[in-house]
């Protein structure tokens, strides 16, 4: 039998070069979706194959990798992808945002501000912001080519006419570098402002849909809106119950079946760092270290 043998970071070098060419093109045309010959990966489509291919193509032996899903380093899919690279590339991994050189994410942007020596790699399910307005690829590509985005505004208009607000809470469309309308991946719109003028390189990989796009460092990213209905990031109005942060995106935790709720940071690294630095919320009586030991994972 042909005993399978795998290259550094799984992908063969030819494939990596192909992906890097697509990434370079994407950086040269901010917000433009570059088609690339996405490979079958050993995890299913829809579980981060685009992000994994981008990460595999840019990862070097000296990189330090962080992987998050829903803002957390501990969710099963984040662990699975982190272990995949630890195994196939042998790179160092971390959960600390500031220590990472490459951060692969699904659905969130870390709360800690990113820096120039970092790359944020997004996993993207549907890269086409116009897809649910116009199902045909041939038509949406023409709309992008001609910058014909009236249809997107029609959608926003309809939201306001029906609900009084733009009724898009996540995957909120943005315009990049005053040219291409782009889907930021299903991040909550709370994260949209972090994409604007960001010092880090932002790369987006959609494996099943075979598209790569990018926001180069310090690029203008504007959330679509109307002058009289400006974009507003949404945040539940409460401090984190564990670290008392007032500026982080919160997960809602159902604590019992009698309507009990608590709100905690979705970004676990941010939350734990704050607790370690002595910030305590209403429900975290114990000091951080004890709490960490109390967790199943030690």
């Amino acid at each position: 039998m042909n005993a399978p043998a795998y290259n550094f970071a799984y992908l063969d070098e030819q494939t990596k070069r192909m992906i890097r060419r697509a990434i370079l093109k994407a950086i040269a045309i901010p917000g433009y979706q570059v088609p690339f010959a996405s490979r079958e990966m050993p995890m299913p489509y829809g579980w981060g194959t685009g992000g994994v291919q981008v990460t595999a193509a840019i990862l070097g032996p000296a990189d330090v990798l962080k992987v998050i899903d829903q803002g957390s380093d501990d969710t099963t899919n984040a662990i699975s992808i982190r272990k995949f690279f630890a195994k196939t590339a042998g790179v160092a991994t971390t959960t600390a945002t500031e220590d990472a050189t490459v951060i692969q994410t699904r659905h969130r942007i870390p709360e800690t501000a990113l820096s120039e020596n970092q790359v944020l790699v997004y996993q993207v399910p549907i890269p086409e912001p116009l897809r649910f307005l116009e199902p045909r690829e041939t038509e949406t590509r023409r709309m992008h080519a001609l910058a014909e985005y009236g249809l997107m505004h029609v959608k926003l208009y309809e939201d306001i006419a029906r609900f009084g607000h733009i009724a898009t809470a996540y995957a909120y469309p943005v315009k990049v570098n005053a040219r291409y309308v782009m889907d930021p991946s299903p991040t909550p719109k709370f994260d949209n402002p972090k994409m604007d003028n960001c010092p880090a390189l932002q790369l987006f990989g959609a494996g099943r849909e075979k598209r790569i796009y990018a926001i180069p460092p310090y690029t203008q990213v504007v959330s679509l809106d109307f002058d009289d209905h400006p974009f507003e990031p949404y945040r539940f109005n409460a401090p984190c119950a564990l670290c008392a942060a007032e500026d982080s995106y919160l997960d809602e935790i159902v604590t019992d079946d009698k309507g009990g709720r608590m709100f905690v940071c979705s970004d676990t690294d941010y939350c734990e760092s704050r607790q370690a630095a002595g910030h305590h919320g209403s429900l975290s009586a114990a000091p951080y270290k004890e709490k960490a030991q109390g967790g199943i994972n030690g």
Partner: protein, 367 residues
Amino acid sequence: MYVAVKGGERAIENAHRLLADKRRGDQSVPEITLDQISEQLGLAVDRVMSEGSLYDRELAALAIKQARGDLIEAIFLVRAFRATLPRFGASEPVDTGAMRVQRRVSSTFKDIPGGQILGPTFDYTHRLLDPALAQGFVPEAPAMADASTAPTPRVTDILGRDGLIESSPQAEDGASVGDLTREPLNFPADRDLRLQNLARGDEGFLLAMGYSTQRGYGRNHPFAGEIRFGEVEVEFLAEDVGFAVPLGSIELTECQMVNQFKGSATEAPCFTRGYGLAFGQSERKTMSMALVDRALRARELGEEALAPAQDEEFVMSHSDNVQATGFVEHLKLPHYVDFQSELGLLRKLRKEFTDAQAPDAMKEAAE
């Protein structure tokens, strides 16, 4: 005190151990071997090789075992392995006309040069469950004839000699073959890419699409011109030595549909073609593929294209079961960040709705 959910790592390890245990099943039952899968579940192996697009019976059998018999999962395993293999080049086109046929049927002519050969088929079995197969069944030795030396020309070639069927478009010399696993797909796609997409496509999807054309959604009057299954030689042109080197033989099923004719004032009428090809014995797959291939040629042949099976973008974007299963099943992944955002918006809208009703209620209360 609340502790955020942790321990994903442990959970994954435990889940994998449990899966391995379930895969093995009751350990007092002998473990299935790859030979057993390859020999006794041969059609499953054929399907995994076809849709996994890798001709390797042993790896396909391993994938089926590892996937606990879930064929789409097995196809996925093979594809993920195949994606990492280096490419040396493309083989020479295989000559299916020179196939050593084990089975060959035509529904268009009663007899054909080289004869109709029924071969191993379910076609005329009665679908009665056979208790004899439950254990220790030893089949009779099959009736064997001497290998025939009579040529078995393809039925479409016979029709083609009289110009009754359109000629197969010939690629230009030196033209490279498209490969959608190496180049991103753009629409409209050429036929080489369409055929590659269909060859890798899900058998069930193609079956339903092909079936829909028969029921009037893009009808194209098909006749099964010929279905043949057997062995062909694969050759590779080695640049260094300057001639084609045989690599070995593989089993293929080929289906050539003969479809409704075209013609105009300037062009003599002739039948049109639909083509299907798959690894191993995969008749349902190749027949469905040929129907869909023909349906997708509507635009090229100047026909009205309104049915789903004639819609290239629809068919090609949804035929791949590895893509489809991944995206459908990704709904299992956590979405609570997005859900939280939706929940926030919905609560806000509901509150505004209630507030808008409230002044009337307050007025009534005041009165």
